[in-house]
Chain length 429, copies 2
Amino acid sequence: MPLDPALRAKILASVEAGFAEQIAFTQEMIRFGSLRGQEHACQDFVFRALRDRGLTMDRFGMDRAAIAAHPGGAPFSDEHSDAPIVVGIHHPREEVGRSLILQAHVDVVPTGPEKFWTHRPFDPVIEGDWLYGRGGADMKAGHAANLFCLDALRRIGLQPAATVYVQSVVEEESTGNGALMTHLRGYKADAVLIPEPEEEMLVRANTGVLWFQIEVRGVPMHVREMGAGANAIDAAYRVITALRGLEEEINAEKVGREHFENEAHPINLNIGKIEGGDWASSVPCWCKIDCRIGLYPGVSAESLARRIEDCVRGFARQDKFLANNPPQIDFNGFYSEGYVLEPGSEAEAVLGRAHEGSTGKPLKSFMTAGYLDTRVYALYDKIPALCYGPITENIHAFDERVSLASLKRITGTMALFVAEWCGVESIEG
Amino acid sequence: MPLDPALRAKILASVEAGFAEQIAFTQEMIRFGSLRGQEHACQDFVFRALRDRGLTMDRFGMDRAAIAAHPGGAPFSDEHSDAPIVVGIHHPREEVGRSLILQAHVDVVPTGPEKFWTHRPFDPVIEGDWLYGRGGADMKAGHAANLFCLDALRRIGLQPAATVYVQSVVEEESTGNGALMTHLRGYKADAVLIPEPEEEMLVRANTGVLWFQIEVRGVPMHVREMGAGANAIDAAYRVITALRGLEEEINAEKVGREHFENEAHPINLNIGKIEGGDWASSVPCWCKIDCRIGLYPGVSAESLARRIEDCVRGFARQDKFLANNPPQIDFNGFYSEGYVLEPGSEAEAVLGRAHEGSTGKPLKSFMTAGYLDTRVYALYDKIPALCYGPITENIHAFDERVSLASLKRITGTMALFVAEWCGVESIEG
């Protein structure tokens, strides 16, 4: 049932009243350079922030065996984070509404060369409407909004009339094992909302993502004897070319896939990192490439992994150098399926009203071609999984930034959503 | 005048008598992991070894201004070594023969991944006739031979009857500035011999070498927005393809060039090292490649450098992404011309006799397509510059090794060469 307009106005005013504090909190989060494996201090900060708000706290690590046994679990490489997952639990006095998970991740991607940045990457500078900083847009702004949409209710003496789990995870940028671990821990609710930077739109469909590393090795040689040796960097490039062929083949398979067939290029293969060789005057004997490719919902990570292996091995067999030096393929991260949010859920309807209430515009939805933790809740909890968040620019790039006006709007949406989805009760009985 | 056969036999027997000690000395040299910039301890070891043999010592650093002003000087990058150059000077009692420079370098190229090696790279293991180790073949075996050919004379009471400079340099594997510095210091002689690993042959012609680094930079992006960003790794490969075109063009110009036109592929472009990107799921915003290319004798480094710049810039102008992100080209090492050892010199004749005396076979000559310090003496001192040394395998590769039987033979050649070229006098007058 739609919120009473007076309550709606009161909630939005409360979001407004808390917004300066929310910005400061977001800035504090950005100052933690919570790169992969370095999220400990940031997660402890989140733990204190949730506990100080009176939530019941749970903190736990990865259950490697359980993750390895799960079809949505990603392999553990040496770089895998061992930072804890933090969950703050709100129980109402009376459980009358629908329960909710509010989730966000604290891990951020590398900054790249600092010289590309206008400000230092972890310095949360505000210029006009933009708040800068690595991880601010993706997704500490949304992370803080999870807390501050509840704060907005509390400020006016209200709290959700249903259980709410505030989950703070890691490994969203590399494996998705953090979100999976909350599922394996047994948490479940009637819906989940993850405020990723989604341009104030709702994610309708989302590709899965697979990570893999390919290493080419071969006999190194002095460059004067190049005929005898073989250049591993050149060979890696030939492998990339073969993979680009597979990418095109998979993109051609968009035909007949709703949410995908009208996209120009729904499946992206990214060669994200390369390293090879040791010396300009030595023929390189090794080259490693780090790759990422998307997959359509309904396609299992396993089946795409086999297809990639077949592609690389098939190409290598007919390549003079690679036939003797078969490339190593290591699936070293994301191993996840995509998902579709089927239209028509009550959760979506509530979010639509909340969005319109906060922004004055109807909620749009779209397909996004990057990994989202929402897949865990959609695929394995089978609950409405809503991914919706602020307008941003340059995520995974230099000068990453989030619009503060948008952040306030989506925080308003979230507060209205919680109030309607969970219902509200007064804090004091 | 050819050596007296009895003296020749006596000298070769003396080389034989000292050979166990020579191997041990060579092994001691290999144990120094004298990578670029890390040659200090090794050069001090060489200093002591020369001083203990009664040579007058000179030790000096690079005169950066003088090198920068010289057409054969290579640019100084941050990686440039600041280890000293060491020269041991022998003066005879009576200067009656022809003077000589015996030169060698102590710097070695990187090992590459240790897992490729059968033994640890700086562990000088002997198996059968092979002495293993990074830098053993290239060129500590020859370096030690410079000392031990003089020791062989001393052991039978003789010393060169002319000035001999024993030069131990650095930066041979990256710039050639060490050899150039000995020239700029003012050392000069009637001939030079450098015992690089040359398969018991004499280098007749040698390519120059140019090093350059190309950096491609562009706007980094989240992979889901790949259309908006541009992949710097992909762009770097397009640049490589353009450079391969230039390589073929230059190889086609072998026609009419003596020593080169019968070679299948005299000019090699090597992409020796590549690095780019930070994260599999971020579109890479930077990629650097380290390249090395040869050049024909008579072609100036400057002119090839301009040609490379023109090639890269011309290609970039018509490439959608690169036109807006012109690659940076940095000439960061070798900037050297090739040379030809004109046949008919007296020095070559003496070396030919010495070689035949030690090995029983006539001396062959050949073209080699890698940088040699001999170019400094050939081009700027304009003296006969002899590059001749032992049989080896896998230089700049894993399991680099030198044949001990060959090392003994070429040490014999060198001792005979010194005796005939410089003449000999008894140590005690």
